[in-house]
Each structure stands twice: as C-alpha cells, then as structure tokens.
C-alpha cells in the first residue's frame, strides 16, 4: 500500500532502534532484567506525559513552552494537598489536580486566541507565571503523596493466565502510562475533534473554511496539553513522593522527543506513538551510558549528537523522498 504513510515507517524504525538498544543493554549488562525494565518504565513516566502534552499542541500547529512549569505547579499542588491528609483524601486530590491542569491549559489556549500573540511567546510568559504560582504553593520541595498513589507505579501487575516470567515484564508504571494515554488519545483520534486538531495544525485557513471552529479547537488542544501535563505532575509526585516547585528538564526533552517521534514542528502530522517510543529510546540511551560508566560530560555531547543526527537523518530521508 502506497498510502501506508511514511510516518508509520518512522515509528517502526524507532521501535527497531529501541529493540536494538535493548539488545545492546543486555550485552553490556547481562543481568539486566525485568526489575530494571520496571525502573525504565518509571523513569519514562513523567517524560512520556510531558511529551504527550507537547505532542497534542504541536500537532495543532503550536508549541507549549510551559509544559514543565505546568508539571511543577500540578505536582506541588498535589503534594501540598496530600501532606498530612488521609489516604482517601487523595481520591479527591487526583481529579482536582487533573481538572486544574485542564483549566490552566485552556487558559493558555484562550490567551493565544484572544491576544493573538504567537503561541511561543504566550507560553513563554505563562512559563514564568506557572513557575511563580508553583513557588507560591510551595517555596521549597516538600509535601507528600498517598501510599496507594505511590504503590500505583511500583511493582508489576499479576495477569491471570500468564506465567510469572512474562508478568514480571509488565511493570505497573507501563500499564498506568498506556491506560492514561489510551483513554484520551484513542477516542480523540477517532473523533471529529481529533480531526479538527490535525486540521488546524495543517492549515488554519483551510480548516476555518471547512467549518472547523478554529479558536475552540485550539483551546481544547491546549487544555488537553494541560491535562497531560497534570498527569505528568502527578507522576512526578507519585514517583518522588514530594512536589518540587522548580521545573525539571521536561521542556527540552519533550520538544526533542516530539521531533524524534516524527511529529513535524509546524503541525498537522504525526501521532502519539512515535514520541512515546522516542522517550523510551532516549531513556534507554541514558541507562546504557550509565551502565558503561561513560564520563558524565561526554553524555551531554552524545545526547545532543543523537538528537541532531537523528533529526538530520530524518530531514535527509524526506529530502530524498521529495526528489524522487
């Protein structure tokens, strides 16, 4: 099938890269096992949500520089609310924080629509605002997380009918990731709203003329981004048990993984699977570098070089494709 888009090829390539890296990891450290894979899944979790948040807006033709700050704010909010509270109270905190991310994301979108300032500038401004708000909530790392929340991402899930040796390779963190993303992404992808998000990213004018409510769609895209970022913030609180008001390195990582995942900056193209696989690849590279005990200063060079090389390679393929 000639339509089988080039994108799928890209994702398949990334997946092959992941498998190759996995084999390399096994060669470096023969004892690398299911427990270590669980560690990888837990490390991936906050990055994956950050990347999902970035992916939605990039597909809609925008960019969100406030992803990491949003994660910080939602994380400190959750951690400070749960500090000293009962386990059951967390049942209320989780939806509250998710709703907060959704609303703040929508505010981002509304600011872009109303002020007509380019998204990159608006989200740069909200980056400062959200950072400030996080500092007002907690001026130093602190807070707590309910035990059941922390338990949600540690260990593995026993699946009936599967031998333990396979079970062990299904860490809870991975399952949480898949469930959270699929619950939102799959229905979205199939709905008219999903199409509209791709449409405004591909050509805003054409989308408007096709009757797509451009402003509303953009706001929803940013709201979804906020929702994913809030999940990322919760993931941070779940894995560390605290909230930290200073944003982590998730902004740059999310942009890098989005591009590695085959989502064009500029919008309209790509999916969520590619960026998520890209996150796994990047995290596994990190693991391998640690296993090899490579000079820490060299790792930055290698990570940067991988990013540049892979993107240049992608650009090169596209160019070749266009020439034919």
């Amino acid at each position: 099938m000639s339509h089988f888009p080039r994108r799928q090829g890209w994702v398949a390539g990334l997946f092959a890269l992941f498998v190759a890296l996995f084999i390399i990891t096994k060669l470096i450290q023969p004892a690398y096992g299911s427990g270590d894979f669980g560690s990888l899944a837990r490390a991936v979790l906050p990055y994956a949500f950050a990347v999902a948040a970035q992916t939605v807006v990039v597909i809609a033709g925008g960019i969100d520089l406030s992803v990491a700050a949003m994660m910080a704010l939602t994380s400190v909010t959750a951690a400070s609310m749960m500090a000293g509270a009962s386990e059951e109270y967390a049942l209320f905190v989780v939806p509250f924080v998710l709703a907060m991310g959704f609303v703040l994301g929508a505010v981002n979108g509304m600011l872009i629509v109303v002020t007509r300032v380019p998204d990159i500038v608006v989200t740069l401004a909200t980056l400062f605002v959200l950072q400030g708000a996080a500092l007002l909530v907690l001026d130093a790392p602190g807070g707590a997380a309910a035990e059941w929340l922390k338990g949600l991402i540690s260990g593995t899930v026993p699946i009936t009918g599967l031998p333990d040796s396979i079970d062990a390779w299904v860490p809870k963190a991975l399952l949480v990731l898949i469930v959270c993303l699929c619950i939102i992404w799959i229905p979205l992808r199939r709905s008219r709203l999903g199409l509209s998000i791709y449409a405004i990213g591909s050509s805003e004018l054409a989308a408007f003329r096709s009757g797509v409510p451009v402003a509303r769609t953009r706001i929803i895209a940013y709201a979804l981004s906020g929702l994913f970022a809030a999940m990322g913030g919760l993931a941070l609180t779940m894995s560390t048990g605290i909230g930290a008001p200073i944003p982590g390195p998730y902004l740059l990582a999310s942009v890098a993984a989005v591009v590695l995942g085959g989502v064009a900056l500029g919008g309209g193209k790509g999916g969520l699977l590619g960026p998520i696989v890209a996150v796994f690849v990047l995290r596994l590279v990190r693991t391998d570098l640690t296993l090899l005990a490579i000079d820490p200063n060299v790792t930055a060079i290698i990570e940067g070089a991988i990013m540049v090389a892979v993107v240049m390679f992608g650009a090169f393929i596209t160019m070749r494709g266009r020439q034919q």
Partner: protein
Amino acid sequence: MSTTAITPVPFGRRVKRFMADRPLIPLVILLVILVVILQILRPGIVNERWIANTIKFAIPLAILAGCQTMTMLTGGIDLSVGTVATMSAFIMATQVVNQDPAVAFLLAMMPAVLIGLVNGIGVGVFRVHPLIMTLGTSLIGTGCLQVYQRTVIASGAKIPDFLAWLGTGLTWGIPNALLLFVPLAALIVFTLARTGFGRLLYAVGDNERATRLSGVQYWQVITALYVISSVLAGITGLLYIGLIKAPSLSLAEPLVLPSVAAAVIGGTSIFGGRGGYTGTIIGALILTVLTTLLTILQMPEGARRILFGLIVLFVTAAYLRIVEER
C-alpha cells in the same frame, strides 16, 4: 482603492494610527512609564549611575536579542547563543592565562564559528527546524565545555583588563561598552535596511520559494546568518565576562529566553519577514528596567515571576494591537 476621509477621524484613532505608523513610539512610551514607576517607588533611583548600570546590563541582552531578531526574520530562532557566549567567555578567561590575548581571542571565537556553521548547515542544507538544531548544538557545546573545563581546572582563570574595562568601565559617566555596542548596533541596523543580505533575510522569511525563483541560494543565506549570529553571541560572551568577571559554565544561559522575549516585544515576528533591530534594543531596555523594578518590589519570588510573565504577555499583546491598526 483610495478613500477620502469625509468624516473626521476620532482623536483616539488618530493617535493609534500615528503610533502604528511609528511602532517605536509606543515602546519608548512604555519604557518611560516603567522608569517613572521606578522613580515613584524609589525616589532618587533614576540617576546617572543607575542609567549607566542599566545600559551596561541591557547591552549583552540587546546583542543576543539581535541574534534572535536576525534569525527570527528568516522564520528561525537561535537558542544556542547562550552556550556560544558562555563558551567564548570561558575559553577566553582560561586561555588568556597562558596565551597571548590575541591567540586567546581567536581560540575563544573558534567554537562560535564552528557552532554557527553547524547550525547553518543543519538549517540551511538539511532543513532541520532551527529550534531543534540550535537546541542540539547547544547541548553538544555545553558537553564539550564541561570536558574542556576538566582540562583547565589546574590553570585557573583570569579576566583580561581590556575586557574588564570594556565591560564595567565608565568614561565621563558613560559605559565603555557603548564603544562596542553603538557601532555594532549601527552595523546591524544598516545591514538589515540597506544591504542585499538584509533584504534577503526579510525575503527568505517571508516566502522562501519566491526567493528561490529569484535565484537566492537559501543555504548560503542561512549559513552566513547563523555564523554571524554565533559570532555576535561570541562577542557578547567576551563583553559579558568583562561585566560579570566570574567565568562559569552557565554564564550566559539565563539570557537566552529574555533575548527571545526582547526581540518579540520589540516587534519582530517570530514567523519571519517582519521586524527590525531598533525595536529590539528598546525591548532589551524594557526587560532590564522591568527586572530592576521587580527586584525593588518587596514581594515573594513567586509573585514576582507571575508579574514578569503577565507583563511580558500584556506588552506584546498591546503592542500587536497597536501595530495591527495599520
């Protein structure tokens, strides 16, 4: 379609149109307002010394924002300027211990040229998105700098007197840095307005296909542009080390996001084809004064950041409104 204005245009609209035709005026007005607020909050602060300080700190920001302005005109962005400036500053400070200053200078500018070249080739030839390309090279550059730091830990660092004089010195109350900045700014403004290269930057940012049909070789323009941007960043690094007098591995990084903000506030379109350097200079001044203003205000750090973000957003939005009036 010519219209003859039959009904008298209301005063408000006239003012708006006047400002829209001269987009620098609202920016200057905003700058003055900020200074006045500062003076009201802290009577006496606006004196010769304060002005000199503000200019000293605005200059490195303004040069880096110049890099952003030029790259943004072509629809790009250069996020590696922070790393490049830091590298040249750090290399200068460590090499000057054992080398002739001229040699140290050449060594310091080498990574700048190299990173600019790689950026230019990535963006111009391979068509990698500038955001990703410059982010990648800045990661690589930071890594290299850290490896380099290991090799020079023993030799220590020194700030050449000339750079210290340029960075911090005053002559008759006027910062010496202006000696570097004024010609540089004039050169950038002239390049953008009155040279073929400047024209090409605007045209490429506006419609790349059209320029191709007119015989423009995109990669040449882009490569030259990113090399120039990097060299400017390198020079900024040298100036900045003269001002701060303490080499560190993240010296100029904090200037990167503000440099983008300064260019945007100054009216340069992030999508390319529109903008100029004069606005950017005022944008840099506005940000510098704003930082002072927020430092002076006694409020929690969190609230200060919120205010900073809101003001940047508000200024950009208001400015766009005014300019769109055209």
